[in-house]
C-alpha cells in the first residue's frame, strides 16, 4: 500500500491490505472543528484501536467512517474515506447503503425491544435476505459467543438479558448481515470486568472474519486486543478543542517505543 501519508511511514505493516483508508482533513459540527488532519488506514482482519483523552474526537472519527454523523445537524466532512476503493463520502453515495457494509456497535448496549431472534434477524429482513434466516441467526449468535446462553429462549425479549449479554446480542445483530467492517465505539465501557473480558475475547475471535475499528478509553484494552493503535490528542491552541492524530503504529510500538513525546506522556499517565 502506498496510501499511507508521511505521518506514519513504514510503521504500519505494509503487507496487509487496507480496507478503509480514512483521510480526515477536517470534521466540523457547525462552526466547531472537532477533528483535523488525521490519516488512519484500517487494515484487513486486524483490530485498529483508537485511544486518546476525552474530547479528542476518537468517537467522532469512528462515527464518520460509516456516516453515522450525517444524522448530527451541522456535521461537515472534508477528506475521504476510501472503503474498498470507493469513497464513502463520494458523490451519489447513499449513507444508508454504506451502513449496511460497515456495521456498528455502540457504547450502551441497545437491543431493540423485540425478541432475541428478531433482534438478530432484523438486518437480514431489512436486506430481504433470501436464505434460511434461522440458520444465519444461529450462526451470528454462535459468532458472538451467545448461542449457548440463549438457544432455549430465542423468543424472549432482548432487553431481558444482562448488560454483557445485550452487548454480545448487539454484536450478533451487527455480524448477522456479514458486514465488511465492524466499528466498535467503546463497547465495554458500560460492562463489568467479566463481561468486558468476554467481549474482548470475542473481538479477537471476530477479527478472523471481520476488520475491526475499536474506540476505547481503556489503554489496557488497546494493549490486550488491538493490532494497530492510533493515538489522538486535543489541540487547544486555537481556543477550541480540536482533536487530531498524534501517531499511529503497531500497538507494541506505540506503547513500548512511541515516537512522539505526547504519546509517551499519555500512556505513562501524565495526562488523561
Amino acid at each position: 500500500m502506498n496510501a499511507l501519508s508521511a505521518q506514519q511511514p513504514a510503521s504500519v505493516d505494509t503487507q496487509t491490505p487496507v480496507v478503509m483508508d480514512c483521510k480526515l482533513d477536517k470534521i466540523f459540527y457547525g462552526n466547531f472543528m472537532a477533528v483535523r488532519d488525521s490519516h488512519v488506514p484500517i487494515e484487513k482482519n486486524k483490530i485498529t484501536g483508537f485511544i486518546g483523552p476525552s474530547g479528542c474526537g476518537k468517537s467522532t472519527v469512528l462515527r464518520s467512517l460509516n456516516r453515522m454523523n450525517d444524522l448530527v445537524p451541522g456535521f461537515r466532512f472534508e477528506g475521504h474515506v476510501h472503503f474498498l476503493g470507493q469513497d464513502v463520502y463520494g458523490k451519489g453515495v447513499d449513507p444508508v447503503v454504506v451502513r449496511r457494509y460497515i456495521g456498528m456497535v455502540f457504547q450502551q448496549p441497545n437491543p431493540f425491544s423485540m425478541s432475541i431472534y428478531d433482534n438478530v434477524a432484523f438486518g437480514l429482513r431489512l436486506n430481504r435476505y433470501k436464505g434460511d434466516i434461522g440458520d444465519r441467526v444461529k450462526h451470528a449468535l454462535q459468532g458472538a459467543a451467545l448461542w449457548d446462553e440463549v438457544k432455549d429462549k430465542l423468543k424472549v425479549s432482548g432487553l431481558s438479558l444482562s448488560g454483557g449479554q445485550q452487548q454480545r446480542l448487539c454484536i450478533a445483530r451487527a455480524i448477522a448481515t456479514e458486514p465488511e467492517v465492524l466499528l466498535l465505539d467503546e463497547p465495554c465501557s458500560a460492562l463489568d470486568p467479566i463481561a468486558t473480558r468476554r467481549v474482548e475475547e470475542l473481538m479477537v475471535e471476530l477479527k478472523k472474519d471481520y476488520t475491526i475499528a475499536l474506540v476505547t478509553h481503556n489503554m489496557q484494552q488497546a494493549i490486550r486486543v488491538a493490532d494497530n493503535t492510533a493515538f489522538f490528542s486535543v489541540d487547544i491552541s486555537q481556543g477550541t478543542r480540536t482533536g487530531y492524530l498524534v501517531e499511529m503504529g503497531p500497538t507494541a510500538q506505540i506503547f513500548d517505543n512511541p515516537r512522539e513525546q505526547m504519546t509517551s506522556d499519555y500512556i505513562s499517565g501524565k495526562f488523561s
Binding site: M68, R99, R100, F106, F112, G123, L126, R173
Partner: protein, 297 residues
C-alpha cells in the same frame, strides 16, 4: 473500647417524643390523609348512586329495546348504545390515523420546524377546547353542508376532541423511544422511514394505544358536541332494512341528558341505567388500555 459515659460524652435521648417537629409531622400526615379521603368522596358517592339506582334497572331488555315514549313502561336504550359505538368508531377512524401521522411529524420529521411548533401549540390549545365548540365546529362543517343531523357529523365533532389527545400522547410516546435504539437502527442501515415504521412505532405502540384509549373514553362520554351534530333519535341507526346514516342518531350521553329531565319514573330509571353503562364502558376502555399499555417486552 472506651466507655462513652466515662468519656463524659453527653448521651442524647433516643426516645420518641410528641412535641416540636414530631407533632407537626403527625398533624400534617393526618391532614394529608383526611384530604385524600375527601378527594375520593365525590367519586365513590357517584359510583354508589350509579350502582344502586342504575343497577336496579339494569337487565338484558335495556340493551335491546328502543327508548319508551311518555307513559310507556319498559323499553331500553339499545339504539343509543349502538349510536355511541358508531360515532366513537367514526371519530377514532378519523382521529387515530391523522393523529399518529401528525405525531410522527412532530416527533421525528420536523420536531423544531415552524409548522411543528404551530401544530403542537394548536393541539395543546385544543385539549382545553370547551367541547361544545367542537360541536359548533362540526355543525358548521357537516350539519350545515349536508343539511341534516347525522352520525358522521357527531363522529367529526368527537374526532375534533380526540385529535389533540392522540397527537400529544403519540408524540410523547415516540419521544420516549431511546435515542440509542434509533442509533442502532440507523447503524443497521435503516432509512428514516424504516426507523419510524420498524422501530419507533412498534416500540412506542403500547403507550400510543393508551393515549388512543383515553381519547376514546373521553369521546364516549361527551354530550354537548352531539347535541349540535347528532341530536337524538328514537329509532335504530339501521332500521327498516337500511342504514339511516344521514339521520339524527341516538347516543347514550344525549339519552341521559334528555331522560334525566323528564317527569316520568321509567325514563329517570333508564337515565340512571344508561349512566351506569356509560361509566362501565369508560372503565372497560381504561382497563383495556392498561393491558395494552404494558410493554410486550
Amino acid at each position: 473500647m472506651t466507655d462513652l459515659t466515662a468519656a463524659k460524652v453527653a448521651l442524647p435521648s433516643l426516645q420518641r417524643t410528641f412535641e416540636g417537629r414530631a407533632l407537626r409531622s403527625l398533624v400534617l400526615t393526618t391532614l394529608v390523609w383526611l384530604f385524600a379521603v375527601l378527594a375520593s368522596v365525590p367519586l365513590f358517592s357517584v359510583l354508589y348512586m350509579l350502582i344502586t339506582r342504575g343497577g336496579a334497572r339494569l337487565n338484558l331488555e335495556v340493551f335491546t329495546e328502543l327508548p319508551p315514549t311518555g307513559f310507556e313502561t319498559g323499553g331500553g336504550f339499545g339504539n343509543a348504545l349502538a349510536g355511541t359505538f358508531v360515532m366513537v368508531g367514526i371519530a377514532a377512524a378519523i382521529a387515530v390515523p391523522v393523529g399518529i401521522m401528525a405525531a410522527i411529524f412532530l416527533a421525528e420529521l420536523g420536531p423544531t420546524s415552524k409548522l411543528a411548533n404551530a401544530a403542537r401549540f394548536a393541539a395543546k390549545m385544543l385539549t382545553g377546547l370547551p367541547s361544545i365548540l367542537a360541536g359548533v365546529f362540526a355543525y358548521a362543517l357537516v350539519v350545515v353542508t349536508t343539511g341534516t343531523y347525522s352520525a358522521p357529523a357527531g363522529g367529526v365533532a368527537l374526532a375534533v376532541l380526540m385529535l389533540p389527545i392522540v397527537v400529544l400522547t403519540a408524540e410523547e410516546s415516540m419521544r420516549m423511544v431511546p435515542k440509542i435504539m434509533k442509533d442502532a437502527a440507523y447503524g443497521m442501515g435503516c432509512t428514516r422511514s424504516q426507523v419510524i415504521w420498524k422501530i419507533i412505532l412498534p416500540t412506542g405502540m403500547p403507550a400510543i394505544l393508551t393515549g388512543v384509549m383515553l381519547a376514546v373514553a373521553r369521546a364516549a362520554g361527551e354530550t354537548a358536541p352531539l347535541l349540535f351534530t347528532a341530536l337524538f333519535s328514537n329509532y335504530w341507526i339501521y332500521h327498516q332494512g337500511e342504514l339511516a346514516a344521514m339521520n339524527p342518531t341516538a347516543s347514550l350521553a344525549v339519552l341521559i341528558y334528555n331522560f334525566s329531565g323528564m317527569p316520568f319514573d321509567n325514563q329517570l330509571e333508564l337515565a340512571w341505567a344508561a349512566s351506569l353503562v356509560l361509566v362501565m364502558i369508560v372503565l372497560v376502555v381504561n382497563v383495556v388500555s392498561r393491558i395494552f399499555g404494558k410493554p410486550k417486552f
